[in-house]
Protein backbone atom coordinates (compact mmCIF):
# COMPACT_ATOMS: atom_id res chain seq x y z
CA UNK A 1 0.00 0.00 0.00
CA UNK A 2 2.89 2.31 0.88
CA UNK A 3 4.36 1.76 -2.54
CA UNK A 4 1.05 2.45 -4.17
CA UNK A 5 0.69 5.75 -2.29
CA UNK A 6 4.22 6.63 -3.40
CA UNK A 7 3.33 5.86 -7.02
CA UNK A 8 0.20 8.01 -6.87
CA UNK A 9 2.16 10.85 -5.21
CA UNK A 10 4.73 10.83 -7.99
CA UNK A 11 1.93 10.88 -10.57
CA UNK A 12 0.21 13.78 -8.79
CA UNK A 13 3.51 15.66 -8.61
CA UNK A 14 4.02 15.31 -12.36
CA UNK A 15 0.44 16.37 -13.07
CA UNK A 16 0.82 19.41 -10.78
CA UNK A 17 4.02 20.38 -12.64
CA UNK A 18 2.11 20.32 -15.91
CA UNK A 19 -0.77 22.29 -14.39
CA UNK A 20 1.67 24.88 -13.04
CA UNK A 21 3.15 25.13 -16.52
CA UNK A 22 -0.30 25.53 -18.06
CA UNK A 23 -1.16 28.23 -15.52
CA UNK A 24 1.96 30.15 -16.47
CA UNK A 25 3.97 29.05 -13.45
CA UNK A 26 7.06 28.76 -15.61
CA UNK A 27 8.40 31.60 -17.65
CA UNK A 28 8.20 31.10 -21.37
CA UNK A 29 11.08 32.16 -23.52
CA UNK A 30 10.03 35.08 -25.66
CA UNK A 31 11.28 35.83 -29.11
CA UNK A 32 12.90 39.21 -29.07
CA UNK A 33 13.53 41.33 -32.07
CA UNK A 34 17.29 41.20 -32.15
CA UNK A 35 17.72 42.34 -35.73
CA UNK A 36 19.45 45.54 -36.61
CA UNK A 37 19.40 47.50 -33.39
CA UNK A 38 22.35 49.70 -34.37
CA UNK A 39 21.43 53.32 -35.08
CA UNK A 40 21.87 54.11 -38.73
CA UNK A 41 22.93 57.61 -39.72
CA UNK A 42 21.83 58.42 -43.25
CA UNK A 43 23.96 60.70 -45.43
CA UNK A 44 20.61 62.22 -46.50
CA UNK A 45 19.29 62.62 -42.97
CA UNK A 46 18.82 66.39 -43.24
CA UNK A 47 17.35 66.30 -46.74
CA UNK A 48 14.95 63.44 -45.91
CA UNK A 49 13.88 65.23 -42.74
CA UNK A 50 12.16 67.82 -44.95
CA UNK A 51 9.79 65.02 -46.04
CA UNK A 52 9.50 63.26 -42.66
CA UNK A 53 8.48 66.56 -41.07
CA UNK A 54 5.02 65.96 -42.53
CA UNK A 55 5.06 62.36 -43.78
CA UNK A 56 6.65 60.89 -40.65
CA UNK A 57 3.51 61.16 -38.51
CA UNK A 58 -0.25 61.25 -38.69
CA UNK A 59 -0.64 65.03 -38.50
CA UNK A 60 1.23 67.96 -39.94
CA UNK A 61 1.01 71.71 -39.99
CA UNK A 62 1.76 74.36 -42.58
CA UNK A 63 1.46 78.07 -43.05
CA UNK A 64 -1.66 78.85 -45.07
CA UNK A 65 -0.87 82.07 -46.90
CA UNK A 66 -4.51 82.69 -47.95
CA UNK A 67 -5.82 82.37 -44.38
CA UNK A 68 -2.75 84.00 -42.96
CA UNK A 69 -2.38 81.42 -40.18
CA UNK A 70 -0.86 78.06 -39.44
CA UNK A 71 -3.18 75.13 -40.27
CA UNK A 72 -3.05 71.66 -38.76
CA UNK A 73 -4.12 68.71 -40.92
CA UNK A 74 -4.22 64.91 -40.86
CA UNK A 75 -1.89 62.89 -43.08
CA UNK A 76 -3.48 60.12 -45.18
CA UNK A 77 -2.56 56.74 -43.73
CA UNK A 78 -1.01 55.58 -47.04
CA UNK A 79 1.26 58.61 -47.07
CA UNK A 80 2.70 58.08 -43.60
CA UNK A 81 6.20 56.61 -43.46
CA UNK A 82 7.55 56.07 -39.97
CA UNK A 83 11.07 57.44 -39.90
CA UNK A 84 12.26 54.67 -37.59
CA UNK A 85 10.93 51.99 -39.95
CA UNK A 86 12.47 53.65 -42.98
CA UNK A 87 15.91 53.81 -41.39
CA UNK A 88 15.72 50.09 -40.57
CA UNK A 89 14.62 49.12 -44.08
CA UNK A 90 16.72 47.84 -46.95
CA UNK A 91 16.44 51.23 -48.64
CA UNK A 92 17.56 53.18 -45.58
CA UNK A 93 20.59 54.69 -47.31
CA UNK A 94 18.45 56.30 -50.00
CA UNK A 95 17.38 59.86 -50.35
CA UNK A 96 13.60 60.28 -50.84
CA UNK A 97 14.31 62.03 -54.14
CA UNK A 98 16.23 59.01 -55.45
CA UNK A 99 12.83 57.55 -56.29
CA UNK A 100 10.50 60.53 -56.02
CA UNK A 101 10.69 63.73 -58.06
CA UNK A 102 12.87 66.47 -56.58
CA UNK A 103 9.96 68.82 -57.19
CA UNK A 104 8.33 67.36 -54.09
CA UNK A 105 10.65 69.69 -52.24
CA UNK A 106 8.12 72.42 -53.05
CA UNK A 107 5.01 72.85 -50.92
CA UNK A 108 2.17 72.61 -51.76
CA UNK A 109 3.32 69.75 -54.01
CA UNK A 110 2.49 70.40 -57.68
CA UNK A 111 -0.64 68.42 -58.61
CA UNK A 112 0.80 66.95 -61.83
CA UNK A 113 3.44 65.04 -59.84
CA UNK A 114 0.72 62.55 -58.87
CA UNK A 115 0.32 61.59 -62.50
CA UNK A 116 3.96 60.57 -62.89
CA UNK A 117 4.69 56.89 -63.44
CA UNK A 118 6.15 55.30 -60.31
CA UNK A 119 9.31 53.24 -60.34
CA UNK A 120 8.89 49.47 -60.17
CA UNK A 121 11.27 47.20 -58.27
CA UNK A 122 12.63 45.78 -61.48
CA UNK A 123 13.55 49.28 -62.73
CA UNK A 124 16.46 49.25 -60.31
CA UNK A 125 16.81 45.56 -59.50
CA UNK A 126 16.62 44.15 -63.04
CA UNK A 127 19.52 41.82 -63.83
CA UNK A 128 20.71 41.46 -60.22
CA UNK A 129 22.31 38.16 -59.30
CA UNK A 130 21.85 38.27 -55.57
CA UNK A 131 18.11 38.23 -55.16
CA UNK A 132 17.19 37.07 -58.71
CA UNK A 133 14.54 39.75 -59.23
CA UNK A 134 14.02 38.70 -62.86
CA UNK A 135 13.14 35.15 -61.82
CA UNK A 136 10.97 36.54 -59.03
CA UNK A 137 9.14 38.70 -61.60
CA UNK A 138 8.56 35.64 -63.79
CA UNK A 139 7.17 33.70 -60.83
CA UNK A 140 4.99 36.62 -59.78
CA UNK A 141 3.55 36.83 -63.29
CA UNK A 142 2.43 33.20 -63.01
CA UNK A 143 1.11 33.60 -59.48
CA UNK A 144 -2.49 34.05 -58.43
CA UNK A 145 -1.69 37.59 -57.29
CA UNK A 146 -0.80 38.73 -60.80
CA UNK A 147 -4.41 38.76 -61.93
CA UNK A 148 -4.92 41.62 -59.46
CA UNK A 149 -2.31 43.75 -61.24
CA UNK A 150 -5.04 45.72 -63.04
CA UNK A 151 -6.77 46.31 -59.72
CA UNK A 152 -3.68 48.06 -58.48
CA UNK A 153 -1.68 45.17 -57.03
CA UNK A 154 2.10 45.17 -57.47
CA UNK A 155 5.29 44.12 -55.66
CA UNK A 156 4.58 46.98 -53.27
CA UNK A 157 1.37 45.22 -52.15
CA UNK A 158 3.58 42.91 -50.08
CA UNK A 159 6.90 44.72 -49.98
CA UNK A 160 6.54 48.35 -48.99
CA UNK A 161 9.70 49.90 -50.41
CA UNK A 162 9.85 52.38 -47.53
CA UNK A 163 9.83 49.82 -44.77
CA UNK A 164 10.64 46.38 -46.20
CA UNK A 165 13.71 44.69 -44.82
CA UNK A 166 14.86 41.37 -46.04
CA UNK A 167 15.22 38.90 -43.21
CA UNK A 168 17.86 36.34 -44.02
CA UNK A 169 16.90 33.10 -42.39
CA UNK A 170 19.33 31.74 -39.85
CA UNK A 171 18.76 29.23 -37.09
CA UNK A 172 18.79 32.12 -34.61
CA UNK A 173 16.10 34.35 -36.07
CA UNK A 174 13.78 31.85 -37.71
CA UNK A 175 10.78 32.59 -35.49
CA UNK A 176 11.14 36.31 -36.20
CA UNK A 177 11.40 35.65 -39.93
CA UNK A 178 8.29 33.50 -39.86
CA UNK A 179 6.32 36.14 -37.95
CA UNK A 180 7.58 38.95 -40.22
CA UNK A 181 6.83 37.07 -43.43
CA UNK A 182 3.41 35.91 -42.29
CA UNK A 183 2.52 39.46 -41.26
CA UNK A 184 2.99 40.46 -44.92
CA UNK A 185 0.28 37.99 -46.01
CA UNK A 186 -1.95 38.77 -43.05
CA UNK A 187 -1.69 42.49 -43.87
CA UNK A 188 -4.40 41.87 -46.49
CA UNK A 189 -5.70 38.38 -45.73
CA UNK A 190 -6.74 39.18 -42.19
CA UNK A 191 -7.55 42.87 -42.64
CA UNK A 192 -10.78 43.25 -44.57
CA UNK A 193 -10.26 47.01 -45.05
CA UNK A 194 -7.21 46.31 -47.17
CA UNK A 195 -8.53 43.08 -48.64
CA UNK A 196 -11.66 44.71 -50.09
CA UNK A 197 -9.53 47.15 -52.08
CA UNK A 198 -8.60 44.30 -54.39
CA UNK A 199 -11.57 41.92 -54.45
CA UNK A 200 -15.34 41.85 -54.31
CA UNK A 201 -15.44 39.05 -51.79
CA UNK A 202 -17.60 39.85 -48.83
CA UNK A 203 -15.63 38.28 -46.05
CA UNK A 204 -12.35 36.67 -45.17
CA UNK A 205 -11.68 34.32 -42.31
CA UNK A 206 -8.41 32.49 -42.53
CA UNK A 207 -8.92 30.90 -39.12
CA UNK A 208 -12.04 29.03 -40.24
CA UNK A 209 -10.48 28.26 -43.65
CA UNK A 210 -7.63 26.50 -41.83
CA UNK A 211 -9.77 24.69 -39.30
CA UNK A 212 -8.89 21.34 -40.87
CA UNK A 213 -5.27 21.86 -39.76
CA UNK A 214 -4.51 20.14 -36.44
CA UNK A 215 -2.89 22.47 -33.89
CA UNK A 216 -3.54 25.45 -36.15
CA UNK A 217 -1.83 28.06 -33.98
CA UNK A 218 1.30 25.91 -33.65
CA UNK A 219 1.51 25.54 -37.42
CA UNK A 220 0.99 29.25 -38.01
CA UNK A 221 3.71 30.22 -35.56
CA UNK A 222 6.24 27.73 -36.91
CA UNK A 223 5.88 27.81 -40.68
CA UNK A 224 5.25 30.57 -43.17
CA UNK A 225 2.03 30.81 -45.21
CA UNK A 226 4.16 30.45 -48.35
CA UNK A 227 5.33 26.98 -47.28
CA UNK A 228 1.99 25.57 -48.38
CA UNK A 229 0.81 28.28 -50.76
CA UNK A 230 3.74 28.61 -53.17
CA UNK A 231 5.35 26.30 -55.65
CA UNK A 232 8.83 25.38 -54.42
CA UNK A 233 11.61 26.79 -56.60
CA UNK A 234 15.06 25.38 -55.89
CA UNK A 235 16.73 28.39 -57.57
CA UNK A 236 15.11 31.14 -55.53
CA UNK A 237 15.74 31.97 -51.87
CA UNK A 238 11.99 32.60 -51.47
CA UNK A 239 9.40 31.18 -53.86
CA UNK A 240 7.03 33.82 -55.27
CA UNK A 241 4.65 31.68 -57.31
CA UNK A 242 1.58 31.84 -55.09
CA UNK A 243 -0.70 29.00 -56.16
CA UNK A 244 -4.51 29.12 -56.27
CA UNK A 245 -5.97 27.95 -52.96
CA UNK A 246 -7.14 24.69 -54.56
CA UNK A 247 -3.49 23.76 -55.15
CA UNK A 248 -2.22 24.55 -51.66
CA UNK A 249 -0.43 21.76 -49.79
CA UNK A 250 -2.96 19.80 -47.79
CA UNK A 251 -1.32 16.44 -47.36
CA UNK A 252 0.30 16.25 -43.92
CA UNK A 253 3.06 13.90 -45.02
CA UNK A 254 4.54 16.43 -47.44
CA UNK A 255 6.10 18.01 -44.35
CA UNK A 256 5.68 15.20 -41.82
CA UNK A 257 7.97 12.71 -43.51
CA UNK A 258 11.64 11.94 -43.79
CA UNK A 259 11.90 13.87 -47.07
CA UNK A 260 9.99 16.83 -45.64
CA UNK A 261 9.40 19.62 -48.15
CA UNK A 262 10.24 22.09 -45.38
CA UNK A 263 13.88 21.32 -46.11
CA UNK A 264 13.43 22.83 -49.59
CA UNK A 265 11.58 25.89 -48.33
CA UNK A 266 11.74 27.18 -44.76
CA UNK A 267 14.97 25.34 -43.89
CA UNK A 268 16.58 25.68 -47.31
CA UNK A 269 19.27 27.97 -45.86
CA UNK A 270 20.91 25.10 -44.05
CA UNK A 271 19.40 22.11 -45.73
CA UNK A 272 22.84 20.58 -46.15
CA UNK A 273 22.75 19.91 -42.45
CA UNK A 274 20.53 16.91 -43.10
CA UNK A 275 21.34 15.04 -39.93
CA UNK A 276 22.24 16.26 -36.51
CA UNK A 277 23.01 13.83 -33.69
CA UNK A 278 21.31 11.09 -35.66
CA UNK A 279 18.10 13.02 -36.27
CA UNK A 280 16.78 13.18 -39.82
CA UNK A 281 16.25 16.80 -40.96
CA UNK A 282 18.13 17.81 -37.79
CA UNK A 283 18.20 21.51 -38.57
CA UNK A 284 14.45 21.71 -37.93
CA UNK A 285 15.17 20.68 -34.34
CA UNK A 286 16.88 24.00 -33.66
CA UNK A 287 13.52 25.73 -33.85
CA UNK A 288 10.80 23.16 -33.59
CA UNK A 289 9.91 19.51 -33.88
CA UNK A 290 8.03 17.94 -36.76
CA UNK A 291 6.49 14.53 -36.14
CA UNK A 292 7.56 12.12 -38.88
CA UNK A 293 10.33 14.37 -40.21
CA UNK A 294 12.55 14.24 -37.14
CA UNK A 295 13.06 10.54 -36.55
CA UNK A 296 16.28 9.48 -34.96
CA UNK A 297 18.23 6.88 -36.90
CA UNK A 298 19.95 5.49 -33.79
CA UNK A 299 16.64 5.05 -31.98
CA UNK A 300 15.19 3.46 -35.14
CA UNK A 301 18.04 0.96 -35.18
CA UNK A 302 17.88 0.31 -31.45
CA UNK A 303 14.13 -0.32 -31.58
CA UNK A 304 14.59 -2.75 -34.47
CA UNK A 305 17.33 -4.61 -32.58
CA UNK A 306 15.21 -4.89 -29.41
CA UNK A 307 12.14 -5.94 -31.35
CA UNK A 308 14.08 -8.45 -33.46
CA UNK A 309 15.78 -9.85 -30.35
CA UNK A 310 12.43 -10.47 -28.68
CA UNK A 311 11.03 -12.20 -31.77
CA UNK A 312 14.11 -14.49 -31.83
CA UNK A 313 13.73 -15.33 -28.11
CA UNK A 314 10.04 -16.13 -28.67
CA UNK A 315 10.81 -18.33 -31.68
CA UNK A 316 13.51 -20.22 -29.74
CA UNK A 317 11.09 -20.68 -26.84
CA UNK A 318 8.41 -22.02 -29.20
CA UNK A 319 10.97 -24.42 -30.69
CA UNK A 320 11.79 -25.87 -27.28
CA UNK A 321 8.11 -26.13 -26.38
CA UNK A 322 7.47 -28.18 -29.50
CA UNK A 323 10.62 -30.30 -29.12
CA UNK A 324 10.55 -30.73 -25.36
Amino acid sequence: MKLFILRISVLLFIISLISAKAAGGFKLQTVTDSQDTAVFVSPYEEENQQCFKCHGQSKYSYMNESLGREVKAMMFVERIIKKKDFYRSNHKSFSCTDCHSSEYANFPHPGELRMEAKLNCIDCHGGDETYHFDAITEEYQQSIHFKLENEGFSCYGCHNPHTYRISTRTSHNLKETIAYDNAICLGCHSDFNRFELLTDREEINIISKHEWLPNQSLHMANVRCIECHTKINENLPVAHLIKPKTEAVKRCNECHSQNSMLMASLYKFESKEQRKDGFFNGIILNQSYVIGANRNEYLNLLSLIIFGGIIIVVLVHIYFRINK
Partner: protein, 210 residues
Protein backbone atom coordinates in the same frame (compact mmCIF):
# COMPACT_ATOMS: atom_id res chain seq x y z
CA UNK B 1 -11.53 -20.13 -10.01
CA UNK B 2 -13.32 -16.83 -10.84
CA UNK B 3 -10.26 -14.63 -11.19
CA UNK B 4 -11.25 -11.87 -13.57
CA UNK B 5 -14.36 -9.86 -12.58
CA UNK B 6 -16.50 -8.31 -15.30
CA UNK B 7 -15.10 -4.77 -14.96
CA UNK B 8 -11.52 -6.04 -15.33
CA UNK B 9 -12.47 -7.99 -18.44
CA UNK B 10 -14.26 -5.03 -20.01
CA UNK B 11 -11.37 -2.70 -19.15
CA UNK B 12 -8.89 -5.24 -20.52
CA UNK B 13 -10.60 -5.80 -23.86
CA UNK B 14 -11.03 -2.04 -24.43
CA UNK B 15 -7.42 -1.45 -23.43
CA UNK B 16 -6.26 -4.15 -25.87
CA UNK B 17 -8.24 -2.74 -28.82
CA UNK B 18 -7.02 0.80 -28.08
CA UNK B 19 -3.43 -0.39 -27.76
CA UNK B 20 -3.61 -1.99 -31.22
CA UNK B 21 -5.13 1.15 -32.80
CA UNK B 22 -2.60 3.40 -31.06
CA UNK B 23 0.37 1.27 -32.11
CA UNK B 24 -0.72 1.14 -35.76
CA UNK B 25 -1.56 4.85 -35.98
CA UNK B 26 1.55 5.82 -33.98
CA UNK B 27 3.76 3.92 -36.41
CA UNK B 28 1.89 5.53 -39.31
CA UNK B 29 2.75 9.00 -38.04
CA UNK B 30 6.34 8.25 -37.12
CA UNK B 31 7.19 6.46 -40.35
CA UNK B 32 5.22 8.37 -42.98
CA UNK B 33 7.28 7.98 -46.10
CA UNK B 34 7.83 9.44 -49.55
CA UNK B 35 5.42 11.99 -50.98
CA UNK B 36 2.79 9.55 -52.11
CA UNK B 37 3.59 6.67 -49.85
CA UNK B 38 2.14 6.45 -46.38
CA UNK B 39 2.36 3.60 -43.92
CA UNK B 40 -0.91 1.83 -43.21
CA UNK B 41 -3.44 4.63 -42.69
CA UNK B 42 -1.82 7.89 -43.75
CA UNK B 43 -0.89 10.83 -41.56
CA UNK B 44 -4.17 12.72 -41.43
CA UNK B 45 -6.33 9.71 -40.50
CA UNK B 46 -3.63 8.49 -38.15
CA UNK B 47 -3.69 11.77 -36.21
CA UNK B 48 -7.47 11.65 -35.86
CA UNK B 49 -7.64 8.00 -34.80
CA UNK B 50 -4.64 8.31 -32.51
CA UNK B 51 -6.07 11.36 -30.70
CA UNK B 52 -9.53 9.85 -30.27
CA UNK B 53 -8.24 6.47 -29.10
CA UNK B 54 -5.79 8.14 -26.73
CA UNK B 55 -8.53 10.14 -25.03
CA UNK B 56 -10.61 6.98 -24.55
CA UNK B 57 -7.51 5.16 -23.28
CA UNK B 58 -6.90 7.92 -20.73
CA UNK B 59 -10.46 7.63 -19.42
CA UNK B 60 -10.10 3.85 -19.39
CA UNK B 61 -6.85 4.18 -17.43
CA UNK B 62 -8.51 6.40 -14.85
CA UNK B 63 -11.21 3.71 -14.47
CA UNK B 64 -8.45 1.11 -14.01
CA UNK B 65 -6.67 3.11 -11.30
CA UNK B 66 -9.96 3.96 -9.58
CA UNK B 67 -11.03 0.30 -9.78
CA UNK B 68 -7.78 -0.80 -8.18
CA UNK B 69 -8.25 1.71 -5.38
CA UNK B 70 -11.88 0.82 -4.76
CA UNK B 71 -11.78 -2.97 -5.20
CA UNK B 72 -9.29 -5.49 -3.85
CA UNK B 73 -7.77 -5.91 -7.31
CA UNK B 74 -5.08 -3.33 -6.43
CA UNK B 75 -3.41 -5.75 -4.01
CA UNK B 76 -2.13 -7.86 -6.92
CA UNK B 77 0.14 -4.98 -7.92
CA UNK B 78 1.85 -4.49 -4.55
CA UNK B 79 5.50 -5.28 -4.93
CA UNK B 80 7.24 -6.84 -1.93
CA UNK B 81 10.86 -6.22 -1.13
CA UNK B 82 11.60 -9.60 0.43
CA UNK B 83 13.00 -12.16 -2.02
CA UNK B 84 12.30 -9.72 -4.83
CA UNK B 85 15.16 -10.70 -7.11
CA UNK B 86 15.25 -14.33 -5.94
CA UNK B 87 11.57 -14.76 -6.92
CA UNK B 88 12.13 -13.05 -10.25
CA UNK B 89 15.03 -15.39 -10.94
CA UNK B 90 12.94 -18.41 -9.92
CA UNK B 91 10.24 -17.44 -12.42
CA UNK B 92 12.76 -16.71 -15.18
CA UNK B 93 14.46 -20.03 -14.55
CA UNK B 94 11.11 -21.78 -14.82
CA UNK B 95 10.32 -20.15 -18.17
CA UNK B 96 13.74 -20.80 -19.62
CA UNK B 97 14.57 -24.21 -18.16
CA UNK B 98 12.18 -25.64 -15.59
CA UNK B 99 9.11 -25.83 -17.80
CA UNK B 100 10.99 -27.98 -20.27
CA UNK B 101 12.25 -30.33 -17.54
CA UNK B 102 9.08 -31.26 -15.76
CA UNK B 103 9.30 -28.77 -12.91
CA UNK B 104 6.16 -27.49 -11.21
CA UNK B 105 5.23 -23.82 -11.63
CA UNK B 106 7.03 -22.00 -8.78
CA UNK B 107 4.17 -19.55 -8.21
CA UNK B 108 0.84 -21.23 -9.02
CA UNK B 109 -2.09 -18.84 -9.43
CA UNK B 110 -4.38 -18.47 -6.40
CA UNK B 111 -7.08 -15.96 -5.51
CA UNK B 112 -4.42 -14.15 -3.45
CA UNK B 113 -1.71 -14.33 -6.12
CA UNK B 114 -3.01 -13.56 -9.58
CA UNK B 115 0.41 -12.71 -11.03
CA UNK B 116 3.75 -14.47 -10.83
CA UNK B 117 6.67 -12.21 -9.72
CA UNK B 118 7.79 -11.52 -13.28
CA UNK B 119 4.26 -10.65 -14.36
CA UNK B 120 3.79 -8.41 -11.35
CA UNK B 121 6.94 -6.36 -12.03
CA UNK B 122 6.22 -6.00 -15.73
CA UNK B 123 2.56 -5.08 -15.11
CA UNK B 124 3.52 -2.48 -12.49
CA UNK B 125 6.13 -1.00 -14.87
CA UNK B 126 3.67 -0.97 -17.76
CA UNK B 127 0.59 0.26 -15.90
CA UNK B 128 2.12 2.59 -13.30
CA UNK B 129 5.23 3.89 -15.07
CA UNK B 130 5.07 3.60 -18.86
CA UNK B 131 1.33 4.21 -19.32
CA UNK B 132 1.15 7.36 -17.12
CA UNK B 133 4.24 8.71 -18.91
CA UNK B 134 2.82 7.96 -22.34
CA UNK B 135 -0.47 9.63 -21.33
CA UNK B 136 1.20 12.73 -19.86
CA UNK B 137 3.56 13.17 -22.82
CA UNK B 138 0.63 12.50 -25.15
CA UNK B 139 -1.38 15.28 -23.51
CA UNK B 140 1.66 17.51 -24.12
CA UNK B 141 1.68 16.63 -27.82
CA UNK B 142 -2.08 17.10 -28.08
CA UNK B 143 -1.88 20.52 -26.39
CA UNK B 144 1.59 21.78 -27.39
CA UNK B 145 1.06 25.15 -25.71
CA UNK B 146 1.44 23.54 -22.27
CA UNK B 147 4.82 21.99 -23.10
CA UNK B 148 7.92 23.73 -21.75
CA UNK B 149 9.56 25.46 -24.73
CA UNK B 150 13.03 24.15 -24.13
CA UNK B 151 15.17 22.39 -21.58
CA UNK B 152 18.93 22.99 -21.64
CA UNK B 153 18.77 24.13 -25.25
CA UNK B 154 16.76 21.14 -26.44
CA UNK B 155 13.25 21.66 -27.81
CA UNK B 156 10.58 20.76 -25.24
CA UNK B 157 8.48 19.20 -27.99
CA UNK B 158 11.37 16.96 -28.99
CA UNK B 159 11.86 15.75 -25.42
CA UNK B 160 8.14 15.21 -24.98
CA UNK B 161 7.90 13.28 -28.22
CA UNK B 162 11.00 11.20 -27.48
CA UNK B 163 9.49 10.25 -24.12
CA UNK B 164 6.20 9.46 -25.85
CA UNK B 165 7.63 7.24 -28.58
CA UNK B 166 10.08 5.51 -26.22
CA UNK B 167 7.32 4.64 -23.77
CA UNK B 168 5.04 3.74 -26.68
CA UNK B 169 7.73 1.39 -27.95
CA UNK B 170 8.17 -0.27 -24.54
CA UNK B 171 4.42 -0.72 -24.24
CA UNK B 172 4.35 -2.29 -27.72
CA UNK B 173 7.13 -4.67 -26.66
CA UNK B 174 5.23 -5.36 -23.43
CA UNK B 175 2.13 -6.20 -25.45
CA UNK B 176 4.05 -8.60 -27.69
CA UNK B 177 5.57 -10.46 -24.73
CA UNK B 178 2.25 -10.35 -22.87
CA UNK B 179 0.44 -12.02 -25.77
CA UNK B 180 3.15 -14.67 -26.12
CA UNK B 181 3.29 -15.52 -22.41
CA UNK B 182 -0.49 -15.90 -22.50
CA UNK B 183 0.02 -18.94 -24.72
CA UNK B 184 1.88 -20.65 -21.87
CA UNK B 185 -1.28 -22.10 -20.33
CA UNK B 186 -2.19 -25.77 -20.42
CA UNK B 187 -3.12 -25.33 -24.03
CA UNK B 188 -2.11 -22.22 -26.02
CA UNK B 189 -5.68 -20.88 -25.85
CA UNK B 190 -6.47 -21.63 -22.20
CA UNK B 191 -5.36 -18.33 -20.67
CA UNK B 192 -7.06 -16.34 -23.44
CA UNK B 193 -10.30 -18.17 -22.66
CA UNK B 194 -9.81 -17.23 -18.99
CA UNK B 195 -9.70 -13.47 -19.61
CA UNK B 196 -12.85 -13.76 -21.76
CA UNK B 197 -14.94 -15.96 -19.44
CA UNK B 198 -13.43 -14.74 -16.17
CA UNK B 199 -12.64 -18.26 -14.95
CA UNK B 200 -9.10 -19.49 -14.56
CA UNK B 201 -8.67 -23.26 -14.42
CA UNK B 202 -6.14 -24.00 -11.69
CA UNK B 203 -4.37 -26.63 -13.75
CA UNK B 204 -3.96 -24.17 -16.59
CA UNK B 205 -0.23 -24.06 -16.47
CA UNK B 206 2.29 -25.35 -18.83
CA UNK B 207 3.35 -28.46 -16.97
CA UNK B 208 4.98 -31.50 -18.47
CA UNK B 209 3.39 -33.85 -15.92
CA UNK B 210 -0.11 -33.09 -17.22
Amino acid sequence: MYLYPKWIRLWHVLNAILFIILIITGLSMQYTGEKDYVLVVGFEDAVRWHNTSAIILTVNYIIFVAGNLITRNGRYYNLKRENFFADLFKQLRYYSWGMFHGEKHPFPITMERKFNPLQKVSYVLAMYVALPLVIISGIGLLLPEIVIKGFMGISGMLLTDLLHITMGFFLSVFMLIHIYTCTLGKRPGSLFRGIITGYHATEDHYDLED
